[in-house]
């Protein structure tokens, strides 16, 4: 039997990258898998995607998915600037970027905040495990206060909540998820790639080697036991919108459904669970995150959404054609233009 294929006629296999070199069981590999599935399911064209990353375990992963795309494993904490440049050069490219809690929360905090401020349209995934893996187990800035790790003792500093930092910086799409919740990760990725603005996904992704004790909020056992999704999430693609009222609402009352309309006409349908969170409300988003941090509640799902501001390319008033595709005539003014400038400077 031939393998199942998507609308481009490609099998899921063709969205894979090279074999992972991370530790077996690493949460990051599950996220890579969801990225592969997302691209396959949506039938994305790999040549139109770039994969960007900084340095760290998480930043190695772009080699392990979408082998047909260009990828750039850049510098520690500096992926946002490289992505900014690449997307200015070619605004037709879609960009999936992978970072970690060290790469974003410590060395890259400045670039993280500023790329959001510029509203560079890309998917910014933070594979957050609270620990430095490649350098063997130091605390990161997202580690739990009071946590004990074998090599470095007790962490006395409060964690930085990267989702909260994203909301404060003006990010228009902020989600938190758990690499052990494949379905939710997949759905949030499908929503994020549709968002023409910076989308931040803070995904708790356990480090099986250095930070997987059940007492750590970044561990598998903790995540499995404590994850509390804010909603059940579903994506209604634009082609389904006409029929969306007919799509089974199931056991829910209409008042328990939030349909977040996205820029491309699709909807994120949120079915209410045990809380009143509305991701379209910035104050509620910050409340959820602050409470989660204070009370160590592992809330996941779409935290905040708003209609995106103009992107960086919009505010730059760029020509339609990608800058990288301009031809020689667009790149060099005429000899008459130079003469004009020169004459203006002469006696």
């Amino acid at each position: 039997m031939p393998p199942r294929t998507n609308h481009l006629g490609l099998a899921r296999n063709e969205y894979k990258g090279r074999p992972s070199t991370l530790c077996p069981g690493c949460g990051h590999d599950s996220i890579s898998n969801q990225l592969i599935s997302m691209a396959y399911e949506l039938g994305l064209e790999q040549h139109k995607i770039i994969k960007m990353s900084g340095i760290g375990c998480s930043s190695k992963t772009p080699a392990y998915f979408l082998g047909g795309s260009h990828g750039f494993n850049a510098l520690h904490g500096r992926m946002p600037s490289v992505a900014t440049g690449a997307l200015l050069a070619n605004k037709e490219l879609a960009c999936i970027a992978v970072s970690g809690d060290g790469d974003t929360g410590s060395i890259g905090m400045g670039q993280f905040k500023h790329v959001i401020r510029r509203n560079v349209p890309f998917v910014y995934i933070i594979e957050n495990n609270g620990v430095y893996g490649l350098t063997k187990g130091q605390f990161s800035a997202t580690a739990d206060e009071g946590q004990f790790l074998k090599y470095y003792g007790t962490n006395h500093m409060p964690p930085i909540d990267l989702a909260l930092e994203a909301v404060i910086a003006g990010c228009t799409f902020v989600a938190r998820s758990f690499s052990g919740d494949a379905k939710q990760v997949q759905t949030l990725l499908q929503a994020a790639v549709r968002h023409p603005g910076t989308s931040v996904l803070d995904i708790i992704s356990p480090c099986v080697t250095f930070n997987n004790a059940a007492t750590s909020t970044k561990s598998y056992p903790y995540g499995k036991d404590h994850e509390i999704p804010l909603h059940e999430i579903q994506i209604l693609a634009p082609d389904y919108v006409e029929a969306r009222d007919e799509i089974t609402i199931g056991d829910y009352d209409e008042g328990d459904i939030i349909d977040v309309e996205m820029h491309d006409g699709s909807f994120i349908r949120l079915k209410k669970l045990d809380n009143d969170h509305d991701p379209r409300n910035r104050r509620l988003a910050m409340n959820v995150l602050e409470r989660s941090m204070r009370e160590q509640i592992f809330s996941t799902g779409l935290i905040y959404y708003e209609e995106p501001r103009p992107t960086l390319a919009d505010t730059e008033d760029l020509v339609d054609r990608p800058l990288a595709h301009l031809d020689a005539a667009d790149l060099r003014p005429t000899e008459a233009a130079l003469d004009g400038v020169m004459r203006g400077l002469m006696v």
Partner: protein
Amino acid sequence: MAINQQTQPKLDTREPVINDFAFSVATKNGSGSQTSNNVLVMSLFQMGIPVNGKNLFPSNIKGLPTWYTIRASKDGYTARKALTEIVVAYNDSTATEDVANLPPGGVCITTDKIAKVIKQREDISYYEIPVAKLMRQTEVPSAFRKLVENMTYVGAVAQLFDIPLDLIYEVLLANFKGKAKPALMNHDVVKLAYDWTADNIVKSDPYRFEHMDGTQGKIMMTGNDAGALGAVFGGVNVVSWYPITPSTSFVDGIIGFRHLRQTENKENTIAIVQAEDELAAAGIVVGAGWAGARSLTSTSGPGISLMAEFAGLAYFAEIPAVFWNITRMGPSTGLPTRTSQGDLLFTHFLGHGDSRQLCLMPGNLKEAFEFGWKSFDISEALQSPVFVISDLDLGMNNWLSDPFDYPDQPVNRGKVLDAQSLQAFIDEHGKWGRYMDVDGDGIPHRTLPGTEHRFAGYFTRGTGHDEMAVYSERSDDWVENMTRLRLKMDTARAMLPQPIIDNGSDADIGIITFGTNEDAIREARDWLANDGIKTNYLRIRALPLASSVSDFIMAHRSVFVIENNFDGQLTQLIRLEHSENISHVRSLALGDGLPMTPDWIYDSLKEQEG
């Protein structure tokens, strides 16, 4: 008006000195003197007199002493001279020293208030301008008075040394972009001082300006503007920077010339992003270069320091991007507004690991323009970052130049494979790998993101890749890669701008330099020639060094390397590349924060050769 009693030395009987003397204008920073000085320089330029203005300014917005030197030279020498014949002493805190620095027979133009304190020398002329009194007579609104006060010395200078008043008005009008109101306001003050000087001061010096035709068909511009214009003609399309003196005006220049590249609908073909720091600026241009843009950043020493990691990454990942280093003294604060050539070694070796960055060193305005566009062709052809090393003196001061030549070579995007040529490459070579060298010049072929071919994608990393851009920690893969990069650098030596060589005489003394010392050296060589000391000359314009540098060194008995830094960095670099004995190469290096003078070069060389 009462006749002002001024003590004057007896009427001057010296031969007139026409169009061949220098001014130093001493004011306080932030007092509006920049406009006054600019008006004087542009007026002389309009009179056809070869002129150069250099701003020797402090790192300060308001209050600290600042000097501006203006040199007029009928013979076209435009270097800064060690001594100026005339000082405009408008800063009470430096006036005593400013007067002390004048040569005998010099001229001090000052305010009546300052004159009371500093009149100590008998061998110079003092011209005292009653600034406060004149300002009371103007109709300038009080809010602007302080800002136009310095126009009083423009008026006095115009009257004393013969600059036509109507010409000054034209220059003022141009300075204010055609707006008559501010031009008139300034001109009123100029005229007031001009008339007062005519009525009250008896000229007792031999200095005078006269119309000549030394600037016909020439332009005046700053090096930063020239480089920016060059970049615009070179197809720059992504610019990112972080403000830093003295490079900020480079990006201001691009913003000013951006319209030359706008579409009919006023859409931009140049994106300009002010980044959060120089790290991000470097990241943006590296990302843009990787994705196929012609990207540029402009910075100075501290920024270059922050860009070091990206520079190394771009070198090893072989990504084109252009970095302008408008060199100043460093590090940190203190002398950031003083010129220097002290970043040569740092810039050339920027990055960790074995890297030798491609550097272009413009020596004048024309080359700032030329390297402005050519840097992109070089960077894309060699798939490597290019550093253009300019300095504060060239970047921020107005230089006289012939108009720029339109680029004489077509835009060269280098070895970029689109979907079709990638397929042809694969058909010919069986496969394509990002770092395969099929041409034997060390330069591989690259694809850009967005190329619609299933084998176009590749993964970029700094180190640890084989020729297929696949992760590899094998020693032999890396040695092979480094060997190819060395070959690429040797290819570069011949592709880069070659040295300017003046081997005209049978001299056995050679002078080597780079960058903006050329004017001072030219003048010093003329003085030396007058003393019977003949010299040959070579100006290096790019790194890695061209092979002709060796030939020049070996062809001379004695070689002096002249540079504006303290450690003789170019000398060190030359020694590094020569295994043979070159003990006849000596360093004449002075890093004192000021543009080089012919006086120092002449004295130092004579002393060494003595």
